[in-house]
Amino acid sequence: MNQQRPNGNAIEIESLVKVYKGAVRALDGIDLVVPAGSVFGLLGPNGAGKTTAVKIASTLSFPTSGTIRVAGIDVVAHPRQVREAIGVVGQVSGVDVNLNGRENLRLQGLIRSIHGRELKQRVNELLEQFGLADSAKRVARNYSGGMQRRLDIATALVHRPQVLFLDEPTTGLDPEVRTEMWQEIERLTHEEGLTILLTTHYLEEADRLAAKLAILDRGKVVATGSPEELKQELEGDTIHVELREDAPDGTIRVALENVKGIRRLDHDVRCLRARVEHGATAIPLVLQALESKGLAVDSVSVSRPSLDDVYMRYTGREFARADEEGARQQSPAGEEKR
């Protein structure tokens, strides 16, 4: 099953646009190339369009325009063949809670025409691998969140797909369970050569798992590269300052205008990030400049560039804020979120 594409790309997306009814432009012309055999991260705040991209690439939803090939096959022209080649773990679990673990796995196998001894063997193998052998006969409704997620992934692997889609696989999991899940995902690519398209709104998750990633913001890809490459583009350190109160328009920029060594400044009314050559030297200067304009500082920190800085650099917004905002915008129309 794991045949390699001639050009080594597992997923190719060109100019993908998705407009939902009500004129929501969820994807605004994205281009993505996912090389085979590694984890590709699609990082973006809530509402960026990650799930939409996964739904379209996995043949669930239809693109408004653009072309998408998965395992070399056009998803619109030949959805059926694409479905044979992929495994999908949606943002909402696809586990049938009325069935037990074994039955869930068997169901997926039978749909894919795997029968008899072969199916039995594969099911046992997966139960073992995902630590579910002891709970195989328990109805999935009674599984813990972590167990359900593991079962979810296992059911997507029954037919040994070439490409696995994981839409926010660790959202809602406890930190320890999340770490376990990360190890499992790493194992899948390293040992089984699986291509994984993983979406996440956790910066550390993208940083740790993704060999390459694309940052998605408001339906557009704003940056692509390996986490290292993206961070290296931002030389030096980042100074992060939280103010005690919202600053009047423009004062932050005016205050820091003449501070030496600031390469780039991003801010909103309450917090700012300054890219500087050397953090330790710049901090006192920055603090002084702010205080002199009457801007009281609540906290200050210095760090090596993170993906958060990368995100801010390309979007001018702080990731966490964009994420909260996105969540807020989506929840009133709550039903749409599937």
Binding site: K21, K55, S58, T59, L60, S61, F62, R80, R83, E84, I86, V88, G90, Q91, V92, S93, G94, V95, D96, V97, N98, L99, E103, L107, Q108, L110, I111, R112, S113, V139, T155, E335, R338
Partner: protein
């Protein structure tokens, strides 16, 4: 064809396992028909004496009506389970697999058929104990069960299709009520055709629920009009095909909206 069958049976198997894990469900759905039998039977006994009423006894007359009504609702409410599947991501998971689209609905229809046969059997036994007679023996009962399954299956397909279109419990319940209730009133399930108002008789002619009641009532009574039984069963079979075609199309509608 082999794949379609295998996929359908896989889906049926899934549904039956779910059902087997909540066996109280079958009891719950039998409460209403049993009340009809136990209450209406004795209550309306006198109806059998109305001039122009042909059946041997009211219970005899009532039984096919109750079986068909039960099948009707059993199939009709089946979409609720699909709403649950939608909310849990189960439908999406199935749709991104090579599952044959019609198998999704055939599976549900087969599962409903099994429940309907179980329910019908219980009702028939109960009615027999209460003094109903079944003419034409096994053949009569076969017609009764077939009519129930064809009607319940049609409703099942429509209900599951509507679930994919509306995706919300409240909307589905409202819509199902709007078209299921009139059908139950415009039928001869509880009252003989020629004894209900004329306009209702006209409406009943186009009512699938009534086709099923007419066919099965005639088949278990003496002096069966087999021609009419055959026509009604044929109409019901046609209805099932139409409903299946409708349901299968709703998958595209669903995929266009997610």
């Amino acid at each position: 064809m082999k794949e379609l069958l295998s996929h359908s049976l896989t889906m049926t198997d899934r549904d039956l396992r779910r059902l087997a894990r909540q066996p109280w469900w079958i009891v719950v759905t039998l409460v209403q028909p049993v009340i009809w039998l136990l209450l209406f039977g004795p209550l309306f006994k006198g109806i059998a004496n109305i001039p122009g009423f042909h059946a041997h006894s009211y219970i005899q007359f009532l039984t096919p009506g109750v079986v068909i009504m039960t099948a009707f609702f059993s199939g009709g409410w089946n979409g609720m389970a699909t709403i649950d599947d939608l909310n849990r991501g189960v439908v999406d998971r199935l749709l991104v697999s090579p599952l044959r689209r019609s198998a999704f609905f055939i599976g549900h229809v087969l599962q409903t058929s099994v429940s309907i046969i179980i329910q019908a059997a219980i009702i028939v036994v109960l009615a027999y104990a209460m003094g109903a007679h079944f003419a034409n023996g096994a053949l009569g009962l076969l017609v009764l069960f077939t009519a129930a399954v064809l009607l319940g299956g049609s409703l099942n397909a429509v209900s599951n299709g509507l679930a994919l279109i509306f995706r919300r419990e409240e909307t589905l319940i409202a819509t199902l009520n709007v078209f299921m209730l009139p059908l139950t009133f415009l039928s001869s399930a509880f009252m003989q055709q020629n004894l209900i108002p004329h306009w209702m008789q006209v409406g009943a002619r186009f009512n699938p629920l009534n086709w099923a009641v007419q066919a099965s009532r005639s088949a278990i009574s003496s002096g069966t009009d087999w021609g009419s039984v055959g026509t009604h069963l044929g109409l019901l079979a046609g209805l099932l095909v139409v409903c299946m075609a409708f349901a299968t199309r709703t998958i595209h509608t669903y995929q266009s909206s997610v």
